[in-house]
Symmetry: C2
């Protein structure tokens, strides 16, 4: 199998960190977003939704969407589980990862896409063109700020986002903080001390370089 990704794509990074944590070695094929390679015919043939990352299996079938790629890799390489060890852990990890995505990752992305000059008319990734809505930028930033506060409370009582162990929920939270810091100029505030303590720990893992 083979992973199509882009170095600058936060969704691609969610998969790269996962692979690094698992210790899986996988051929990576870069897609050049700056040159709009995701809209090229050859890439549309791989993923009609024109998004990275995509995992192409040996039989040619393609898997898109980060949680789908994660699930496949977790089933195929069960060592070093990132979705927990039993049904309750798996459900709690699914819940917390989703909260990180819906409350942190998605608003950070929305804030950037509705603002960037280069994304005029492309407020949402995917096959359709939608205009930017400037009002969404401020609302998205407020949401990221609320996410920082909510997850700080959570991390006052838990070592990792979903409990005692590092999981996919930590991957999404880490990628969100780095993306919001770089693209929205919203680093974790000093008041989010538990979230910052968690960040130091998680960002120091070798996988964070992925």
């Amino acid at each position: 199998m083979k992973l199509y990704h882009a170095q600058s794509s936060p969704n691609s990074r969610r998969v790269r960190i996962f692979i690094a944590e698992k210790g899986i070695s996988l051929p990576l094929h870069p897609v050049n977003l700056r040159e709009k390679e995701q809209f090229s015919d050859w890439f549309k043939a791989i993923n009609p939704r024109q998004q990275v990352p995509v995992l192409v299996l040996d039989d040619g079938r393609t898997l898109a969407e980060v949680p789908a790629i994660w699930r496949y890799l977790e089933e195929t390489f069960p060592e070093h589980p990132l979705f927990g060890a039993d049904a309750v852990d798996e459900a709690l990890i699914t819940m917390w990862e989703r909260r990180a995505e819906l409350d942190g990752f998605a608003p950070a992305m929305e804030g950037v896409r509705n603002d960037a000059t280069g994304l005029k008319g492309r407020a949402l990734s995917g096959p359709h063109d939608y205009d930017q809505i400037p009002e969404l930028v401020e609302r998205s930033k407020r949401r990221v700020s609320d996410f920082y506060e909510d997850f700080n409370s959570r991390l006052e009582e838990a070592h990792f986002v979903a409990g005692d162990d590092f999981s996919v929920a930590d991957i999404t939270a880490l990628v969100t903080v780095d993306f919001a810091t770089a693209e929205l100029k919203m680093p974790l505030p000093a008041s989010a001390y538990a979230f910052r303590r968690w960040y130091e720990k998680v960002a120091a893992r070798p996988s964070a370089k992925a």
Copy 2:
């Protein structure tokens, strides 16, 4: 275990249909959204995010978020799988369910929440108050319309959303169509003939009454 839900909540319905398809019998505890019971102290103690559905386990732990509840029930009651039978099927179902949610369900919800008079200042469900953005209503409707077209193409080539078998991807798509029809006055258009053919079949399953 026990499921807190609301009859009018589309997210609750996603879980009720799942349970019906599985043939699981589970005590259901209604939360009265009209009387704002989700904001009551007793319910906040169960789910601080003030959302239904929530599954409370026998040991008192609580699971929120539809995919988390689904995963737990799938692991606990493996008969009549709704996430496929092997790793590739599971990943493809995860992918298609997510597309139904991100491209159909979420925009339909966004269109309603940014428009309804009763939801002024509550454009997003959850613990924080955000103002409505009227421009989002039109964009959301365009997205639902694009979703109808995209899924029509998909259903020209597949019996069910994720392939040959009924899965959670069909549940989300069905709930989306019914919600968009009732709340956005956007039924499936005549041109979406494959999607309509699928709808007739899926809406006729006994679980659709849930």
